[in-house]
Every structure is written in structure tokens, then in C-alpha cells.
């Protein structure tokens, strides 16, 4: 039986400011979904809330996998239940080698009931697996000995996220603008890697502004967010329209949400510049 990730009427606030205002989403293992929307519409907030960032408070609604609520679970428990977030801005952890980090991560995710301090998966087995995943993805062996994201270029950081995805093989992977800030070769790398990893055991939710990632990885469903909620859903043609024409059409069809977006932008204007397309 394939698993189901369900988001129902989700309200999420950051520092008492409501960002998500009733998001609904259903993703089944094996499916590919696109999540689009202008800057500030709540895409990344949804991704962080799904993964359980402590600053993102669930005010109402529920996130569940196969009926088990994730609302009160720590991020590590969510990871062990098969959720994965490829970060838009992966953090640096100096002094921690990629291979050591991955060995801990893989051990925990594959043995969800592991207690702290219990043994890691055997070194030989792990090394062989890491080596073949890296070869498949065309990542140099030297990568494994580097410190996690320390001194990595933007493209290398994104490759690192994809390598983690390949090793952890989650049921539900959220890719938060994995294509942003990359040149076209790097985007092709990411795109091809995702299409290789996708399959019946993995659902992929692609958050993106571009169409490139979606060319190789055709989504069953595209969700469009505006002002903290999903306002439209459609097939690949919708993504194509957004790519060609931007979000003007969406705003026209959803004047209330567009007005809220304007308000929020105006409130922020005093504090920082807003780039609303």
C-alpha cells in the first residue's frame, strides 16, 4: 500500500504573524507534484512547517502520514517517518565529514527505533552504497571526505542535498527551490537526478519558479499558492502558463487573495524591499 501525506486546513504562524491560512494538500507515494506561486506566497513556509521547524507554529489544522499526525513530532521523528526536505539554503556544519553525517542519518532513518548511542550501519556496507550512489549521480569521491557544506559552491550544496535524498530514499521528498541560483548545467544535473530517483516508492514535491525541473519530471498536479493558501490546482499546462505569463492571471482570478498579498507587501514595505512579480 502506498503512503499518503495529507495537509488539512493548515494555519502556520511565525513570530505571531500568520503566514499559511488554510492549506490543503494530498500527496501519494510515487506521485510528482509542483508547488508554485510568487515570492512570499508561503511555499517555503509550508515546506518548513511540514519538516517541523521549531519557529513555525501550527495554529490550526493537521499534517499527517497515513493518518498519523505529525503536528507534535520533532523533525527527527518526521524524518524517520519518511519525510525529507531538500533545503534551499543548506547550512554549513564545519568539521563534520559528509560521510560521517550521512552514516548517522541513514542509520537513523532506516532504523526508526534506534536509541541514541546504538550502533551505526556497518561501515563496509555503507561505504559501498555511498560510493555507488555517488557514481550514479556523477559526484566525485572526494566529496565524501569534505566537511558538510563547508566551502561548497551553490551548485555543490544542491548536489549534496540530492545525494542525501538518494541515500535516505524518503517516502515524501520536498525540494525547496533546488533549482534556484544554479546555471543551466547544474539545473540539468538536478533535473536528471530527480527523474532517476523518482519512482513508485518516492513522492516528490517540487517547489520552483522555473519550468526546467518539470520538463524531465512531469507533475501529476501543480498547486499554485497565493497569500498563504493554495488557490489553483491543475495539470502540467498550468505550470506552463505560469512560466509564460507569470502570476497576473492567477491574481486576476483570485482578487481577494491578491488584495491580501498587496496588504502584506505594503506592511513589509517599511521594513524591507519586496520583490513581487
Amino acid at each position: 500500500m502506498s503512503s499518503l501525506l495529507k495537509v488539512e486546513n493548515l494555519y502556520v504562524s511565525i513570530d505571531d504573524k500568520m503566514i499559511l491560512k488554510g492549506v490543503d494538500l494530498e500527496v501519494r507515494q510515487g506521485e510528482i507534484h509542483a508547488l508554485m506561486g510568487p515570492n512570499g506566497s508561503g511555499k517555503s513556509t509550508l515546506a518548513y512547517a511540514l519538516m517541523g521547524h521549531p519557529k513555525y507554529e501550527i495554529v490550526d489544522g493537521e499534517i499527517s502520514i497515513d493518518g498519523v499526525s505529525l503536528n507534535e513530532l520533532e523533525p527527527d521523528s518526521r524524518a524517520r517517518m519518511g519525510l525529507f526536505l531538500a533545503f534551499q539554503y543548506p547550512v554549513t556544519v564545519p568539521g563534520v565529514k559528509v560521510a560521517d553525517f550521512l552514516r548517522h542519518a541513514v542509520t537513523n532513518v532506516r532504523n526508526p527505533n534506534r536509541k541514541e548511542g546504538e550502533g551505526l550501519i556497518p561501515m563496509r556496507e555503507f561505504r559501498a552504497e555511498l560510493k555507488s550512489r555517488m557514481e550514479e549521480l556523477g559526484i566525485e569521491a572526494e566529496f565524501a571526505r569534505r566537511y558538510l557544506n563547508d566551502g561548497f559552491s551553490g551548485g555543490e550544496k544542491k548536489r549534496m542535498e540530492i545525494l542525501q535524498l538518494a541515500m535516505l530514499r524518503p517516502k515524501f521528498a520536498i525540494l525547496d527551490e533546488t533549482d534556484s541560483g544554479l546555471d543551466s548545467d547544474a539545473v540539468r544535473f538536478v533535473s536528471e537526478a530527480i527523474s532517476r530517483l523518482a519512482g513508485p516508492d518516492m513522492a516528490i514535491i517540487i517547489i520552483t519558479h522555473h519550468e526546467r525541473l518539470l520538463e524531465f519530471n512531469r507533475p501529476q498536479l501543480t498547486h499554485v499558492m497565493l497569500a498563504g493558501r493554495v488557490v489553483e490546482r491543475g495539470e502540467a499546462a498550468l505550470a506552463h502558463e505560469l512560466h509564460d505569463q507569470g502570476y497576473a492571471g492567477v491574481r486576476l482570478r483570485h482578487p481577494d487573495a491578491a488584495a491580501e498579498e498587496q496588504e502584506a507587501a505594503a506592511a513589509l514595505a517599511g521594513k524591507q524591499p519586496v520583490l513581487a512579480k
Partner: protein, 473 residues
């Protein structure tokens, strides 16, 4: 090394994570001096050791110096230290053995629990085990002995190699250097004596292990290492003690002479229980084109004040100190390094990393001094502190005394906290919060740990993990 040790008394003062806090019976001890410090006690120590007159005089005059010197007003809180409430000399067994089977059972069991005989079989070129005031076991690989290497306890060295001993003893750290050097000079007992002849390179480490067992014990070992021209040695010391509610004092003096073209690395992995005052003076003289390295891992103790020094005496001498300090609850690590450039074209580097948690305090205190005329010197100091919570504290006291213009001196310092974003990132990959914190801390000290031989790197990481266990929440 040691694993699966039970903690006998860990709850006594609520320290929790310290696993070497067990102690043995003291019933079968050969001799325990009464508590307190005076001329009679010092004379008694000298008499029991059957020392030459000059050493007896050296001790008694050092005692006078000790009384005259004030307690340092900087560093840690020393006012609770009662010098009259300490046993200055405790002899647990009759003599030093060459075979573990001949070491009294209870003492041997302690070292078994600490994993020393096992480590000796696997990767050490020689071992000294000091228990209380005296060395109870010693070994050295035969081929090293044949090459003229001397590795013995300091008392035996005075007896068996009197000329060599007297030529160097007290020349690097005179008794009047500081109050605790004077105290050690008065009541010293045990410690390692190493002589590496010209050109002899010792491949595997020599290790000494210092264990305090009694309550209110003072351990005052005296180590003297002479590395002759072109020779090299790596010496490693480890230290533990039982957990008691009253204080113990460890006050060692370590003197090292690294001759022209020689190399010496001195690694300390100290893990005292949290009732030990650890007040140690360590200093090396490095001559032309030689290399002296201190690798100093400070865990445990109530208060540690230790600043390993290197005097760069001739051109081309290099000095390097890598220091890790971990201050937990109720602990103050006041540690650092001193580099004194006495000659032109000498080089030094200090890397210090400290971690404070649960209200612990870690201070970096360091000195870089360049004498007038010591042109072309380079010195680089980097100290990084990691605070694990807002109750903990980190301070940096870098002193510079530069009496020469034509030099390059660099200093960088940073204080960081474990960031929420790092924790979230690691936790999103299945790591618990404690595991994630531990991984960040391990990464923080990695640049130093990777300098250790593999076995010690594993041990250091394990000790740090033990310190981290159950500490986050």
C-alpha cells in the same frame, strides 16, 4: 580504550556523566603521610625516597619559596583550596613493577578498567602508570632501551642517571617561577623521565597514566624530557581520579628540552573528576630548527589553570600548541598557551578551542612575547569558543608583548553558539537534538582531534560525547 565502566560515586556530588569516579580501598597502602604541609613532611618525603642531600635542600628551600609567593589573583577561584587539608605523599605499593601481574590486584584492576594494559599491547612503545605518589608499573620496548632511550620514573632517574638528571632538573622551570611550581619542587614525587639519544626517532607513543585514588590527595608528579639532537618522541599522558565531595590537588611540573633539529610532541588527555584542582606548569625550551608541540585536551576538574609554554631559543625553532577545553557544570577551564620568541626567525602557532555547557566557564589565556632583536618571527593565534547554552561563559585574555618591529603576529578569536538552523538541518535528517548537538561539537573540535593518533582521537571524541550526553534539553 576503556569502555563500559560503572560509576561508583557519581551521584555523590551530582556530576552525572563522569565514568572514572570509582575508587579502590586504601587499606593495604604502604604509607600515607599525615595531612598538612610543613618542613617535617617535606623532610620525611625526602627521607623515604633516600635522596641525596642536594635534593633535600632543594625541596626545603622550595617550600620557603612556596610560603613567600602569593596566590595568583587572576585565573580561577583558589580561596577554597586548603593546603593543610591534603595528603602530600601517599605510597600505595612497595615498588615499580615490570609485569602487570606483579602489581597489587586492586591497583591492577583499576588500570584494567582504564584500558591501559590493552592499549599497551596494541600501540604503545612504553608505559608508566603512576598511582597516587609513585609509579607502580613501567615498561619500555627492548629495542628502544638498546638504542639508549631512557623512559623511567623521575625518582629512579635521579638515582640511576644522576649526572644527566642534575644537568637539566629545574633548569626550565625554577622553583621560584610561580607558587605552584614551588609547591611541586618541595613535594614532588613520581612523573616520567625520558631521554632520547641523538638521532633516535621513536615511532610509537610513550604513555604515562596518572591516577589519584585517595580522598584529599595531592599528586605532584615531575616530568623531565630531553630530546637530543635530531631525535623525536611523542609522549602521551592521561589522568583520572575518583569523585569525592572534598577537594584533591594535582600540581605537576613538566620540563622539556628539545635540542637542535629534534621533535617532541606532548599530548595530554586529562579527564579529572570535578573535585580536582589542576594547577600545572608546563614549559619547553626549543633549540635551533626543532619542533615542539603541545596537544592539550582539558576535560573535567573543578578548576584547571594550565598554559603550556614554549621558549623558542634559537633560529628556526617552531612551537605549536593545540588546546581543547571542555567546561561543564561547576567547572572552570582557564587554559591557553605561551610562546616566547627569544631568537630571530622562530615560528609559533596557537589553536585553542573551548566548549562551555551547563554553566561551565572556559577561558583562553595566552601570551605571545617577542624579544627585542628577534626579527623575522611569525606567530599565529586562533581561539574559537562554542557556547552550548546561555548559562555558560567564555572569556579570552590574549596578551602580546612585542619588542621588535620586524615580525608578523596574527590573532583571531570567535565565539559562537550552536545555531537553531544547524540543529534543524541535522534533525531533519533523523538526528535527535542531543545527537545533532554532539555532532556539531565534535565537528567544532575536529581540526584538533585529527592531529591526534587514531586511538586518542577516538578516545577524545568518546569523552566529548559522554560530556554531551543528556546535556541538551
Amino acid at each position: 580504550m576503556a569502555t563500559d565502566l560503572k560509576t561508583a560515586t557519581e551521584d555523590d556530588i551530582g556530576v552525572g556523566e563522569y565514568q572514572y569516579g570509582f575508587h579502590d580501598s586504601t587499606d593495604k597502602y604502604v604509607f600515607t603521610a599525615r595531612k598538612g604541609l610543613d618542613r617535617d613532611i617535606v623532610a620525611q618525603i625526602s627521607e623515604m625516597k633516600d635522596e641525596p642531600a642536594w635534593m633535600r635542600e632543594f625541596r626545603l628551600s622550595s617550600l620557603e619559596t612556596f610560603w613567600k609567593k602569593p596566590l595568583p589573583l587572576w585565573g580561577g577561584e583558589l580561596r577554597n583550596l586548603d593546603f593543610q587539608d591534603i595528603h602530600y605523599y601517599v605510597k600505595a605499593s612497595l615498588g615499580q613493577e615490570r609485569n602487570w601481574d606483579d602489581v597489587p590486584d586492586e591497583i591492577r584492576k583499576t588500570y584494567d578498567r582504564l584500558g591501559i594494559p590493552e592499549a599497551e599491547r596494541k600501540y604503545l612503545a612504553g608505559v608508566k602508570a603512576q598511582y597516587e605518589s609513585e609509579v607502580v608499573y613501567g615498561s619500555l620496548h627492548e629495542d628502544l632501551a638498546k638504542q639508549g632511550v631512557i623512559f623511567t620514573d623521575t625518582d629512579s632517574a635521579m638515582r640511576d642517571h644522576p649526572d644527566l638528571f642534575r644537568e637539566y632538573f629545574g633548569t626550565v622551570i625554577p622553583p621560584a617561577d610561580n607558587k605552584f611550581a614551588a609547591l611541586n619542587s618541595a613535594v614532588w614525587s613520581g612523573g616520567s623521565f625520558i631521554y632520547v639519544p641523538k638521532g633516535v626517532k621513536i615511532e610509537f607513543p610513550l604513555q604515562a597514566y596518572f591516577r589519584i585514588n585517595s580522598e584529599n590527595m595531592g599528586q605532584f608528579e615531575r616530568t623531565l624530557i630531553i630530546v637530543d639532537e635530531g631525535a623525536s618522541v611523542h609522549y602521551v599522558e592521561g589522568c583520572t581520579a575518583p569523585t569525592y565531595s572534598s577537594e584533591s590537588l594535582h600540581s605537576a611540573v613538566v620540563e622539556i628540552i628539545v635540542k637542535r633539529g629534534a621533535r617532541c610532541r606532548y599530548t595530554t588527555i586529562q579527564n579529572w573528576s570535578s573535585n580536582v584542582y589542576n594547577l600545572v606548569t608546563k614549559r619547553a625550551m626549543a633549540y635551533g630548527d626543532s619542533l615542539m608541540e603541545w596537544v592539550d585536551g582539558n576535560l573535567g576538574s573543578r578548576l584547571t589553570m594550565k598554559y603550556p609554554a614554549i621558549y623558542l631559543m634559537e633560529p628556526g625553532a617552531r612551537g605549536e600548541t593545540l588546546s581543547i577545553a571542555f567546561a561543564g557544570k561547576g567547572q572552570h577551564q582557564d587554559a591557553g598557551a605561551k610562546m616566547v620568541h627569544c631568537a630571530p626567525n622562530t615560528y609559533s602557532r596557537i589553536i585553542s578551542k573551548s566548549i562551555s555547557k551547563s554553566g561551565g566557564r572556559a577561558s583562553y589565556r595566552g601570551l605571545v612575547k617577542v624579544a627585542n632583536g628577534a626579527t623575522g618571527c611569525k606567530s599565529n593565534v586562533v581561539c574559537d569558543a562554542l557556547l552550548l547554552d546561555s548559562d555558560s561563559r567564555s572569556d579570552t585574555y590574549p596578551y602580546m608583548e612585542i619588542d621588535e618591529d620586524n615580525v608578523v603576529i596574527e590573532h583571531e578569536a570567535s565565539v559562537s553558539k550552536i545555531s537553531d538552523e544547524q540543529l534543524f538541518y541535522l534533525m531533519s535528517r533523523g538526528m535527535t537534538e542531543a545527537e545533532a548537538s554532539s555532532m556539531i561539537v565534535t565537528g567544532f573540535i575536529e581540526p584538533l582531534v585529527k592531529e591526534l593518533p587514531m586511538e586518542y582521537a577516538v578516545e577524545m571524541n568518546r569523552l566529548i560525547e559522554l560530556q554531551m550526553e543528556g546535556s541538551i534539553g
